[in-house]
């Protein structure tokens, strides 16, 4: 009898957990970017825009960009899009032709940290 009781409880537990995340947050995964990850653009982009799966906490999040030589490019501090806390934006200075590496580190609003790197190319 006990095993049938336990097996019967299993779906209820699963359903309870399934329903719970409505009010929760999670690790912020990168969804897509502009310019695209590993992509090539023909004009210098005015900004980097990263789209995440969860709202971010900007105080503990950032984006850095460096050139082919590894030198960090001076840019402002990345900010949240005021209309969407899942979009993280870094205004860029004029970029010349070349490859660029982007490093991002974010903390979702429930304090889960994630990070990532990607490259893109500006080709005249």
């Amino acid at each position: 009898m006990r095993r049938y009781l336990l097996l019967g409880l299993m779906p209820a537990v699963v359903c309870s957990i399934w329903a719970w995340p409505v009010a929760a947050m999670a690790h912020a995964f990168l969804d897509h970017t502009i310019p695209t990850v590993g992509g090539t653009v023909t004009a210098a982009p005015p900004e980097l825009r990263l789209f995440f799966s969860e709202p971010l906490e900007p105080l503990f999040s950032g984006i850095e960009i460096s050139g082919t030589d590894g030198q960090r490019i001076a840019a402002g501090k990345a900010t949240l899009d005021p209309r969407d806390a899942k979009q993280f934006v870094l205004r860029l200075p004029p970029l010349g032709p070349g490859h660029y590496r982007v490093h991002w580190h974010v903390v979702s609003v429930d304090t889960h940290p994630t990070q990532g790197d990607f490259t893109f190319e500006v080709r005249p």
Binding site: R3, L7, W20, P21, A24, M25, A26, G38, G39, H112
Partner: protein
């Protein structure tokens, strides 16, 4: 999650050889090392402590070497004590159908594991963990189902390595990751009902190709949901007896499959292919629903009990 159990055969050899696969209670974890997200693999141990739960893991094992059929329904929970130390508990309900006999059902042994994740290197996507797994005596249906009447202690070492640090000329290989686990079984009784309980060396690996890593860290190839969160993988899991009349005998499976990792849970499915005579024959399969408790309950259940 648990290492997929091979059929608990009535034959003494099969039982002695297959038992280690049941009792090597592996850790379960999804985790990060730098840019790398490691999913919770199904058949092999993961090199992370975490707050997670597998519920359920349903396994239809390949036909046993003696012709028996076994289906398992398992549940596992993992909890962090500190950010680096965690424990887990696991249990399986089993249905064993001997060839020509009546089906037997009941619970297998209780598994527990204590782990210490001692190393993480973000830039090289590398992580490592040591632990002690235990399968407890007389916690399952011993006489009918073949659950152990002895405790097995299994010190273990797990590691994970992502290859995102390869040069960009090898972009195709950067989504690859490998996790591995090594452990040794030390049963507290050298024999049970006249059947020796050998020491076993257990080794398993998971070879992953992360489409999530490809899409979000290497090259936007246009993958959208749900494909951008999929991780095709092949797991291999082996156990080799070292002594007590079974020296050199190996059981093992190869398990190709797919894991989809979402925000709060993941779903995995794998085929089970036995690769030695003692491992049985035919095709098996396993599906698993796995919950990230740290994402579902970030302020309560999903946090370590103690932080420092």
């Amino acid at each position: 999650m648990r290492i997929t159990s091979l059929p608990l055969a009535a034959a003494a050899t099969a039982l002695a050889m297959s038992y280690p696969c049941l009792c090597s209670a592996p850790a379960e974890a999804h985790g990060f090392a730098g840019d790398r997200f490691f999913p919770a693999t199904i058949a092999t141990d993961d090199p992370f402590v975490a707050d997670e739960m597998s519920l359920p893991t349903v396994t239809r094992n390949p036909t046993g070497p003696d012709g028996s059929q076994e289906i398992d329904i398992g549940a596992d929970i993992a909890k962090r004590l500190t950010p680096d130390i965690g424990f887990q508990l696991g249990r399986q309900w089993q249905r064993l159908q001997p060839l020509g006999g009546r089906a037997v059902t009941g619970f297998g042994a209780l598994d527990a594991e204590l782990d210490y994740q001692f190393y993480t290197n973000g830039p090289h996507e590398l992580t490592a963990m040591v632990g002690l797994a235990s399968t407890f005596a007389h916690t399952g249906r011993v006489a009918a189902l073949g659950a152990p009447d002895f405790t097995t202690l299994s010190p273990l070492v797990d590691f994970g390595k992502g290859f995102g640090d390869l040069p960009e000329t090898m972009n195709w290989a950067r989504p690859i990751a490998v996790t591995g686990n090594l452990s040794m079984d030390f049963p507290t009784k050298t024999e049970s009902a006249g059947t020796p309980n050998p020491n076993n060396f257990n080794y398993g690996f998971a070879f992953e190709y992360s489409l999530e890593y490809l899409q979000h860290h290497v090259k936007d190839v246009g993958l959208t949901a749900p494909f951008d969160r999929m991780i095709p993988l092949v797991e291999v899991s082996f156990s080799t007896a070292l002594n007590r009349g079974y020296g050199g005998q190996t059981v093992g499976t190869v398990q190709p499959g797919l894991i989809w990792a979402g925000q709060y849970m993941q779903v995995g499915a794998e085929a089970i292919l036995p690769v030695t005579h003692n491992s049985g024959h035919g095709l098996g399969g396993v599906v698993q629903l796995h919950f990230y408790l740290d994402d579902i309950f970030p302020q309560t259940l999903g946090r370590p009990l103690f932080t420092y």
